[in-house]
């Protein structure tokens, strides 16, 4: 399946290569560089490319390209999903997935890649299993290792590999037993010029952090499970129980994991927490334009909107901005033409406003389209869909765990057309 993997930074240097079958010369990447050249923006490089003898499937994450070389027919999503899993694992192990970090930990990276694929077919991708085989590097451990000569690599088969619950290792012990669930909802919306909703939906995810001793069997139930239109689960969730009783029953992995993601359909009315009054105009003469944006609360269910941020991708012709913000700061990046207005907390009494003039390149034609505004926001202690966890029960273990549920609403792909 996956023949080789090349890691390439955004300037086009191949800084790591790994082959699972015979070695393939790195010159195969030239076809990719050609496509990259053509695409200008790295995001626009097609993920699947064909070369005379190979197929290249690439993902772009954290300014890095993960390029895999394929020789025969394979479902492209299989490869893409796997490459993202690799990037996730790096992130999990090293805290971030960047060129510097990967170069610093090249041996661990190589050991990981060796375990994750055998002959190009995924072998162990479950983070719990991997962590038993190759322990993540910590400063303490590296000191201990140099002193005692012990290593980061385990010599027994991870228990998870064999059981039918590969995501959990055996013999987990904690002094404080805790289970936390974060219900995070993101609003995806497109609003048009007048503020009417063109499209809106809610995507939710339940992130869990479970540190429980032994083999706990958990059941999480909701007050209003009917709300959930479409769901996907971590493999630990028993689908049959969900089908019949609408409860999540599972033996959790140890540590952090995504329990489920869900979708609240656009048929239900989606509450839009803020409204945006904007006026962006460019003048035919004088090479300038005006910008005036005001944001106010709409349906916030009595909670405060925090972390408000507006991002505008300005047309290429906009040279500089001269704006005043009544609240927060704004920056305008001359190279990327991105205007970022970091508002912070939304005060309903005194609505934040950003206004001023834009100066344009002399002689450039008036931009055809006004740039759209991307809104970022956060509301604590609220799930905008109204989803509520009613209870969490634990079976199979005797102790009493500490349980907690947190709700957050964020803006996902929230766009206002102007």
């Amino acid at each position: 399946m996956i023949h080789s993997l090349f890691l390439i930074n955004h300037t086009g240097d191949i800084f790591l290569e790994k082959h699972w079958k015979s070695v393939i010369s790195r010159s195969v990447c030239d076809y990719f560089f050609e496509a990259k050249e053509k695409a200008v923006d790295p995001e626009n490089v097609p993920p699947v490319l064909q070369t005379p003898h190979h197929y290249l499937i690439t993902i772009y994450r954290g300014k890095l390209f993960f390029l895999s070389v394929i020789q025969t027919e394979v479902p492209p999503l299989f490869v893409i999903e796997f490459l993202h899993r690799v990037a996730d694992t790096f992130q999990d192990y090293f805290g971030e997935c960047s060129e510097v970090i990967i170069k610093d930990n090249v041996v661990t990276v190589y050991e990981l890649l060796e375990e994750m694929l055998d002959n190009g077919f995924p072998l162990a991708t479950e983070s719990n299993v991997l962590k038993e085989m190759i322990r993540p590097p910590t400063i303490l451990r590296s000191v201990v290792n140099t002193l005692t000569g012990s290593s980061n690599v385990g010599d027994t088969l991870p228990t998870g590999q064999l059981s039918n619950i590969p995501w959990r290792r055996a013999g987990v012990k904690y002094t404080n037993n805790e289970a936390y669930f974060d219900v995070i909802e993101e609003i995806d919306a497109i609003l048009d010029k007048s503020g009417t909703t063109v499209f809106a939906e809610i995507q939710g995810v339940i992130e869990a952090c479970v540190r429980l001793t032994g083999m706990p069997d958990l059941t999480l139930s909701f007050m209003n499970p009917r709300l959930l239109d479409d769901v996907s689960f971590h493999p630990c969730v028993r689908f049959k129980r969900w089908e019949s009783e609408r409860v999540l029953s599972f033996i959790p992995p140890d540590g952090n994991f995504t329990l489920m993601t869900y979708h609240v359909s656009s048929q239900n009315l989606v509450a839009i927490p803020v409204y945006v009054k904007q006026n962006i105009s460019f003048f035919e003469t004088g090479n300038c334009g005006r910008l005036d944006i005001t944001i106010g609360p709409k349906q916030t269910m009595g909670k405060t909107v925090e972390g408000l941020m507006v991002t505008v991708h300005m047309p290429k012709a906009v040279l500089s901005t001269n704006l005043t913000a009544s609240q927060g700061n704004y920056t305008y990046d001359l190279a990327t033409k991105v205007l970022v207005w970091d508002v912070g907390k939304l005060n309903p009494q005194k609505l934040p406003n950003l206004r001023g003039s834009l100066s344009m390149q002399a002689g450039a034609p008036k931009p055809e389209e006004n740039p759209s505004l991307n809104i970022d926001l956060k509301i604590q202690q609220l799930a905008i869909s109204g989803l509520k966890v009613s209870r969490l029960d634990m079976y199979g273990e005797k102790y009493k765990p500490f349980k907690g549920v947190k709700y957050v609403t964020k803006a996902g792909k929230f766009q206002v057309r102007t």
Partner: protein, 697 residues
């Protein structure tokens, strides 16, 4: 010997004994031998920590793609090390360089052979992994033996490793195929979820055509599927899709696939028992077919996008038409995932939405374009929106398109104009609205937008040229300001084609072209010659001299296509004594009514490739692509899958294997006996239900 020579050199370098990574890194790369020499020294030292340090640096070299092959003798000595991390790094090295240093690699084989007998299953497995990854043809028999033994190992993890090793051995020596198939056959019977995915992968690689090996394991695979790891699920589902297409009859009969007559003959040839039910129900799904559909459905909820996609394609290719739509929601959900995932999923939705608008229409808004999407994502969304357009939603879609046309991403704006053109041809109610909208775009400031509009308008006008001389006039006026060659060529073609509708303007355009002919692009020149010829035929009084002037320019053009065309046109239209024959037909040749171009999706007919495959994504048959067969007209014998009568035993603990085997043998005997009676009595039963026939007998 020469190594010794370098050794003294290195001594003068002085720092070989320092285990610091930093020093090696900052050393000039001009002396690779020098650098590797200190590594060699470290590898041969007595200290584990030094060896480990050296190995880590060696792996660092491999990762960077640097050559470290000359260290092979020093590294291979450490293959039997007690330190597990050191050993693993040596494995990494071995797998990388064994192919280049075959003789030396053989030194390590005995270590692996010993490890294959280790009581620790993990060590057995990793030994087999490395042994099979060493691509040295001479050890093929050893590998074969190791694989056979490992396939019978008690540990499912080792058996899984042996399934992987099968593929490696096969690619090293395809002559072993027959023996390997035997091992695959054995492993396919394995009941561990751990093994299932890997052995099916081996099956797909080594003998995908041996469908007969699957029969007996079909039901087991279906039942195990939910518990197999994600990657195995993808492979199994795609194999079962292929299998099902060869074993079951089409569930799509109600549609236009079979007409009345066909259906009758089809059932006549089938079992008599079924015949009674035909009147009531024309199609009965094989229970095994149903089993597959039922057991894959929960996997739509998987977090792994590849699994969801594979179930979706399974339903698309196997489920009755009315059941396919259950995959819609899950596919739309995948659009929230990474950009690359979106790309593949959108491609598949684009193919699906051509045939089945209804499936995705309720989710139309999920395909609305955001300004932050990558261009290829935008174009795919546009494609899908166009596919979904119908009389009811066209106004919404067109309103949405109006926003897109203004996009700063000009490639996308151009694609939108194409899309509007397609909507206009597909939905006759809006043709005029679209055409007017496109004409308005002609005064757009951006050149690409104007050019694209011209091209699309040209196509639209061809479908209904009668009432649009106004638009042609408008375009003639714009002609001076348009510089994009394709657009200029399109306008010229329009002028020529409908020159009788604009008799005053067309000659004037030709006059202007005569002035700029030499500096035009090739396609524009070709169309100028074309226009000249057509005008010469319809209006020779005004244009005779102009035409001759242009033909003369063309005659001496640098491009041979233009010279050829000019010569051809001249012979065709200008009467002379040599060419009487064709001249008569010149008018009919040049001014023949031309069929309008069909504006259709680039994804039409993409479903000739199995959805979700690389071939589908590239729209090219990829190496190793396995064609999905058509449904068989008559279902092959269903009883071949019948081994599962002892299915309840499946869940028994392994200590009961002997009783299980006994029962199995009993069943086989009974089955033979039964089939004899059956043939004797000429009775044919549906054997799908495994107990029933016994009673009915």
């Amino acid at each position: 010997k020469y190594l010794l020579g370098y050794f003294s050199l290195d001594q003068s370098g002085g720092s070989w004994f320092l285990p610091s990574l930093m020093l090696t890194l900052i050393r000039p790369t001009m002396f690779p031998v020098l650098r590797n020499e200190d590594l060699k020294e470290m590898l041969e030292s007595n200290k584990e920590s030094l060896k480990l340090e050296a190995m880590k640096r060696v792996v660092g070299l491999i990762a960077k793609g640097k050559n470290a092959s000359e260290l092979f003798p020093a590294v291979v000595k450490n293959v039997a090390s007690k330190n597990i991390e050191l050993k693993k790094l040596v494995y990494v090295y071995l797998v990388r360089y064994a192919e280049e240093q075959q003789d030396l690699a053989l030194l390590s084989i005995s270590t692996f052979q010993r490890a294959l007998k280790d009581p620790n299953q993990f060590i057995r497995a990793s030994a087999l992994r490395v042994l099979s990854s060493i691509r040295v043809p001479i050890i093929v028999p050893i590998m074969m033996l190791a694989i056979k033994e490992a396939a019978a190992d008690l540990s499912p993890y080792v058996r899984k490793t042996s399934a992987h090793a099968i593929q490696k051995l096969f690619s090293l020596d395809p002559d072993q195929k027959e023996q390997l198939i035997e091992v695959i056959e054995k492993l396919l019977k394995d009941k561990s979820t751990l093994v299932a995915g890997s052995v099916v992968m081996a099956f797909e690689e080594v003998c995908p055509d041996r469908i007969d090996l699957i029969h007996k394991n079909y039901r087991k695979l279906c039942n195990l599927l939910v518990d197999v790891e994600e990657w195995g699920q993808v492979v199994i589902i795609s194999m079962l899709t292929r299998y099902a297409r060869t074993q079951f009859t089409s569930p799509w009969k109600e549609g236009a696939v079979f007409d009345e007559n066909n259906e009758k003959t089809f059932y006549d040839s089938d079992s008599e028992e079924k015949k009674g039910q035909i009147e009531a129900k024309p199609y009965i799904m094989d229970p095994d077919h149903r089993l597959l559909l039922r057991n894959t459905k929960p996997l739509l909820q998987s977090r792994n996008t590849a699994v969801v996609m594979s179930v979706a394609q399974l339903y698309w290719h196997l489920a009755p038409k009315h059941e396919v739509s259950i995959v819609t929601k899950s596919l739309v959900r995948l659009l929230r995932s990474h950009r690359e995932v979106q790309y593949i999923v959108l491609q598949n939705i684009a193919t699906m939405s051509i045939q089945r608008k209804g499936m995705f229409e309720p989710f139309m808004k999920s395909f609305y374009v955001r300004s932050t999407d990558a261009t290829h994502i935008k174009t795919l969304k546009l494609e899908i929106l166009t596919n979904l357009a119908n009389e009811a939603n066209i106004s919404t879609i067109l309103r949405e398109f109006q926003t897109y046309v203004k996009s700063q991403d000009k490639a996308f704006a151009a694609a939108t104009i194409q899309a509007i053109g397609r909507c206009a041809t597909n939905i006759s109610e809006v043709t005029d609205t679209c055409l007017n909208g496109l004409v308005l775009l002609l005064s757009n400031r951006d050149e690409t937008v104007v050019a694209e509009s011209v091209v699309v308008i040209k196509k639209l006008l061809q479908t209904q040229p009668t009432q649009h001389s106004e638009i042609i006039k408008h375009m003639a006026k714009l002609f001076d300001n348009i510089t994009v060659p394709m657009a200029r060529a399109s306008i010229l073609w329009l002028m020529g084609e409908y020159c009788e509708r604009v008799p005053k303007i067309a000659p004037d355009v030709l006059r202007k072209m005569a002035k700029t002919f030499t500096i035009e692009e090739d396609i524009v020149k070709l169309q100028t010659v074309n226009l000249a010829a057509k005008l010469y035929l319809t209006n020779s009084k005004q244009t005779k001299l102009l035409t001759q002037y242009i033909l003369n320019l063309g005659k001496y053009d640098q491009n041979y296509d233009i010279r050829d065309r000019t010569r051809f046109i001249r012979q065709l239209i200008v009467p002379s004594e040599k060419n009487g024959a064709l001249n008569k037909y010149a008018r009919r040749i040049l001014l023949a009514p031309k069929p309008a171009p069909v504006l259709e999706s680039a994804f039409k007919d993409r479903d000739r490739y199995q959805l979700g495959t690389l071939s589908h994504s590239l729209n090219i048959k990829a190496t190793g692509y396995q064609e999905l067969s058509d449904w068989p007209a008559v279902a092959p014998d269903q009883s071949v899958r019948n081994v599962e009568v002892i299915e309840p035993v499946r869940n028994l603990p392994s200590s009961h294997t002997s009783s299980y085997l006994l029962m199995y043998k009993c069943f086989v005997l009974w089955d033979k006996f039964f089939s004899k009676i059956r043939t004797l009595l000429w009775l044919r039963f549906s054997l799908s239900d495994t107990i029933d026939p016994v009673f009915s007998l």
